[in-house]
Symmetry: none
Subunit: 276 residues, 2 copies
C-alpha cells in the first residue's frame, strides 16, 4: 500500500501530493485518523483527500484506513531473540513465547524428514515401550509414558542411568526404547542404545543429531540443539520434543484404528466420572 502511494506520488497534483507525503511520514497516525483531521494536517480540504484516495486506486477514505492498518500490522514473525537482563518483564515473556513458537514452527517444517511411519510400525506391535530421560527430559519421558499407555501398550519411564542400562540389558526384539536427551552427549545413553539395539530392540532417539546417542539409534528424530548463549534461554526445545511425541502418539492412535479410539474413549470416560 505504502509502495503504491510512493509510486503514485509524482503524477498527483500538489495538494494531493502533500496528502500522500504526510501519510508516508506518519502512516501510524494516518491509519486511524479522521478525514477532517487529515485534511487539516495537510492544510487542504476534505474532498482533496478523498480525491487522493481515488487517484491511488481506492474507493474512498474508508478503504484507505483499512489498507493502512493492514500494511502496518507487521507480518508477525516469531523470531528468536535472546532475553537480556535489561528487558522489561513484558518484553521478556513475549520473547520466551516467541522462542517457543519458533522452535515448534521449525519442528513442523522438518516433520516430513522424520521417521514417523517407521516409529509407528515399531510401536504398534511393541511388547512394551520405555521412555528414558534425565533431568528436564525425564519429565518429558513421564509425560509420554502417561500418554502412550492409554493406547493399551505397556509403557514405562526411566529416569536414571542405572535403570536405563538395566532396561537395555533385558530388552527383547519387539521392545521399543525411546531416548530423550537435549544434548545427546551422555555417554551412558549411547551405551544403552548400543546394547538395546544389539539385543534386537528398536531404539528411537529424540536428540541432537550431532551426538553419540544419535549415531547409535535405529530411528532418529533430529532435534537441533539451541546453543545457550544466555542463561535465560528457555527450554523451548523441550516443548518441541513434547509436541513431537504428541504427533507420534496421534499417528500411532490412527494406525491402531478402532482399538485406539476405544481405549482413549474409555480412559477419558473414567476421568469424566470422577470430575463434575
Amino acid at each position: 500500500m505504502l509502495a503504491t502511494i510512493t509510486q503514485a506520488l509524482p503524477r498527483l497534483s500538489p495538494s494531493e501530493r502533500r496528502v500522500g507525503r504526510w501519510i508516508l511520514e506518519h502512516p501510524k497516525e494516518a491509519a486511524n485518523t479522521t478525514l477532517a483531521r487529515l485534511a487539516r494536517e495537510c492544510e487542504t480540504s476534505e474532498p482533496t483527500v478523498v480525491r487522493f484516495c481515488r487517484h491511488v486506486g481506492l474507493a474512498g477514505f474508508r478503504e484507505l484506513a483499512i489498507r493502512l492498518t493492514e500494511a502496518l500490522s507487521s507480518p508477525t514473525t516469531y523470531v528468536h531473540r535472546d532475553v537480556g537482563p535489561d528487558d522489561s518483564t513484558s518484553d521478556a515473556v513475549i520473547k520466551v513465547m516467541d522462542a517457543s513458537i519458533q522452535s515448534l514452527i521449525e519442528m513442523r517444517s522438518q516433520l516430513s524428514s522424520m521417521p514417523i511411519d517407521e516409529t509407528v510400525i515399531a510401536m504398534k506391535s511393541a511388547r512394551q515401550i520405555a521412555f528414558a530421560g534425565l533431568g528436564a527430559s525425564g519429565h518429558v519421558a513421564s509425560d509420554a509414558c502417561h500418554k502412550f499407555f492409554r493406547l493399551g501398550i505397556p509403557c514405562s519411564s526411566l529416569h536414571d542411568i542405572p535403570m536405563i542400562l538395566q532396561f537395555a540389558a533385558i530388552t527383547q526384539p519387539d521392545d521399543v526404547l525411546v531416548l530423550l536427551s537435549h544434548s545427546g552427549r551422555w555417554q551412558d545413553f549411547a551405551r544403552a542404545a548400543k546394547l538395546a539395539k544389539k539385543r534386537g530392540a528398536t531404539v528411537v532417539a529424540l536428540t541432537n543429531p550431532d551426538s553419540g546417542v544419535a549415531r547409535e539409534a535405529s530411528l532418529l528424530f533430529p532435534c537441533p540443539l539451541i546453543e545457550d548463549t544466555s542463561v535465560y534461554t528457555p527450554m523451548s526445545s523441550r516443548l518441541a520434543q513434547l509436541a513431537l511425541l504428541d504427533a507420534i502418539h496421534v499417528a500411532l492412535a490412527l494406525a491402531q484404528g478402532d482399538a485406539a479410539s476405544e481405549n482413549l474413549r474409555r480412559s477419558k470416560d473414567a476421568l469424566n466420572i470422577e470430575l463434575s
Copy 2:
C-alpha cells in the same frame, strides 16, 4: 482478536453471542462491513453490536473493524483443525503440530492480560512454591518444580489430592501454591485453593477461566479449555501451560537479578562437568 472473541462468547448475552459467532464465521466480511449491515445480518439492532464491541474490550465498532483487518492480514496459517480417522499419517502429524503452534500463538496474544508481575512479586519473596497437578498436569507440575528450584527457591510438586489438601492446610502467608488443571473442575482443587488463601498464601491458577478453581484463585492465568470434539485432540493446552511457566520463570529470574543468573549458571555448570 478472534481468540478474544471466542473466549468472551460464553459470558455474553444471547444476541451479542449471535454477533460474535457471525463474526467468527465470516471474519472477512465483518472486517469491512457497516454497523447497520452487521446488525441486520445477525438479526439484532445496532446498539447491541456496539455493546458487543464494548464487552470484548474495544472502544466501539470502528475499532472492531481495525482489529479485524489487523488479525486477518497476519497470516494465521496454523489454524486448529481436528484430526479424524481418515487422515493420513503425515496429515495428522501436521495438524497436531499446527494445533500446538496455534495454542501458543493465542497464549502469546493474551500475555498482556495475565498477572505475571503480581505472580513474580509473590514468588520472589516466597518461602516456598508448590506446584500441584493431577494426571497430565502432574508432569507439568514436576517440570515447573524442576525449573523453579534452580532459582534457589524451595519448591515441591504435588501429584495427588491428599497431598495437595495437606499442603494447603499447612501453608503460611508467604507460600505460593500453583494449581495446574486442564478443566479446573476438580472440586478438591477449589477446596485446596480456598483453604490456602484463607491461611494467607498466594494461590496461582493456570486453568480454565470458567471453573471453580479459577474463582478461588488469588491470581488467575486463564487457559481456555479446548472442547474435545475428537478423541485424537492433542494436549496442546498443556504445551501452552508449559510455555507460560517458562515465561514466568524467566520473568522471575529477571526480577531476582544477579542472584538468579548466579544460581542458573551454577546449576548449568554442575551439569557440564558430568557431560562432555
